[in-house]
Symmetry: C2
Subunit: 198 residues, 2 copies
Amino acid sequence: MSAAVIAMIGRMTRWGPDAKGRLVQSALELYAKRGYDQTTVAEIAERAGLTERTFFRHFADKKEVLFAGSNNLRDLLVTAVAGSPSSAAPIEAVAAGLLAAGVVFNEERRAHSRRRQSIIAANAELRERELIKMASLASAIADTLRRRGVPDPAARLTAEAGIAVFRVAFDRWVDADNEVGWSDLVRGSLAELKVLVA
Amino acid sequence: MSAAVIAMIGRMTRWGPDAKGRLVQSALELYAKRGYDQTTVAEIAERAGLTERTFFRHFADKKEVLFAGSNNLRDLLVTAVAGSPSSAAPIEAVAAGLLAAGVVFNEERRAHSRRRQSIIAANAELRERELIKMASLASAIADTLRRRGVPDPAARLTAEAGIAVFRVAFDRWVDADNEVGWSDLVRGSLAELKVLVA
DNA sequence: GTCTATAGTGCGATAGAC
DNA sequence: GTCTATCGCACTATAGAC
């Protein structure tokens, strides 16, 4: 057996499948069990069968492990907004984006999201990081609308309104006693916004 | 001249009027001139004729000196929302709040606000602090609406939409080449939101 | 790795307003 | 005299320079 093959086998566990995902899962479990502050990065890495150094190769800091999915969410949103028919009004394009984001807000993920939200709710630094992520979602949407030819302040305003709908729909989606699906919550919240501002 | 008298003269400014306001003004000038990071709290205090220790009696940290007015803003908003006639729809109460906030957004303050915003725009930590302040405004408004009997999610949604209007109006108000007054910007942004979500 | 500058805290002393 | 804003000092924590 060649050294190359032996090395490859040696890496099987180290390079086990989805290292990043294992880190996310381990972090979520430990943050939930012992609290964010009481969990060290070393513990997260160990539980995932990795080292602290590897954790920081995947995530900029201890918080970021909880927000790894937000880039994916942003891409889903932006792609759907950008891909809406040019005949679609700005708010329709944004609505399409919010609905497209539902790919990650399915029933299998709901328990996971609930646990994640309760971790975030319990810690000021994590709540702040979430505000930053939301703000960056809003500017990504606004940029996309501008690229579709929507001028300011309409682009900014539509994006901010869209994020307002997102926040409300998401809060309801992770609410303990709620079983309504993502797309119904988005449509319902958007419809309610229309009524409220009318 | 005795040492005691010299000491007394040195302390003349100690009980000068509006120590907090002097600290705010000094901080604004130094942050604008040399940048937030390149300014020390000791320098701010010295320029205000005070000591570092006194700075921290008035402000929890170096950032907070730029956000001292935000409690005042929140009170203006909340009071006006709470004081709206009970016949007023939620969005009307919020609009009344936004217009009432205009007390602090007058022409004399515009230059000051512009400088403040350019300082905040130049620094990530300050932008984050601003997000936090905005989020706390939104929840204060939502709470006030709930106290008026507006149920969730309408209260949350109206508050978030109101803050979206606030952000856009404020951005336009501090925009370099803009001379439109606060109330026109609020009414205009709100009217545009209505059109956009319709 | 040590050294330095700065942020931020705790507590007791003091100066001046009342 | 009381009350409180301010000061002085000693401290910890941490980020950056070297």
